[in-house]
């Protein structure tokens, strides 16, 4: 049995779905950030797998993967800063308590 592009795509899709579940159904704001990280990882797996199987002699997929990793780092830094700021005022990281913008 040979591992094809489909195997990698399905694995990435499953990882994405698990991350989406964590991002949508978790109460803790940090769990949500972890779910987003899992989704970004699935996205990079897709980029690299497409690069390997459809155009292996160009490394454009790798370059975009590195850009996505940089975006993930920026996202988690700002996200955690937001969570910590909100935590200082509310003393909670439960997103059900984050209702300042609700009217």
């Amino acid at each position: 049995m040979i591992i094809t592009l489909n195997h990698y795509l399905l694995l990435a899709a499953m990882l994405f779905c698990i991350g989406l579940y964590a991002a949508l159904a978790k109460k803790n704001a940090i769990s949500i950030l972890m779910g987003i990280e899992l989704m970004l990882n699935a996205c990079i797996i897709n980029l690299v797998a497409f690069n390997r199987f459809m155009a292996p002699d160009m490394v454009v997929g790798h370059v975009f993967g590195i850009f996505v990793i940089a975006l993930a780092a920026a996202e988690v830094a700002v996200g955690l800063a937001l969570v910590l700021t909100v935590y200082r005022d509310l003393l909670s990281v439960n997103i059900d308590d984050f209702n300042w913008l609700k009217w």
Binding site: E37, P56, V78
Partner: protein
Amino acid sequence: MSVSTIVFWIIAAVVLGSAISVVTAQNLVHAALFMVLTFFGVSGLYVLLEADFLAVVQILIYVGAIAVLIVFGVMLTQRKGMEETNVSSSHKWVTGILVTILMVGFAYAVTRTPWQVSDHAAPESTVGLIGELMLTRFVIPFEIVGILLLVAVLGAIILTKGARRLP
């Protein structure tokens, strides 16, 4: 079955198992550690896909920086004990069903699409090619990512410490 096939299945099991544990672990610190395991597994996948530089970058940035940052976040925001810190909200069943439907849709789309697979060999080492592309064809996105990282760092500092006008 070749060695790389067996390795792929082992890594796939590790990645999916630890990703599910990220969701199901009751203790948030355990979830963060399972997330580290997921990142290691994904880096193994990059090695299988012959993306050597990306595998190293994955370990350096995801395991070395992002995971540590998230563990810091966990430690700084939990007051009481760590039990039951990773609970799901009340609409978890709806979310589960939606996610399952999405997964079925993905599987249908992936298996029905005729991918045009090329049989070229992957380059021996990707580092030089990536560096060349980044500084020629993708130099503008490269600079923009640099600016974005700078803005993100400044934004994170200002969000947590607050901005003050100099006297």
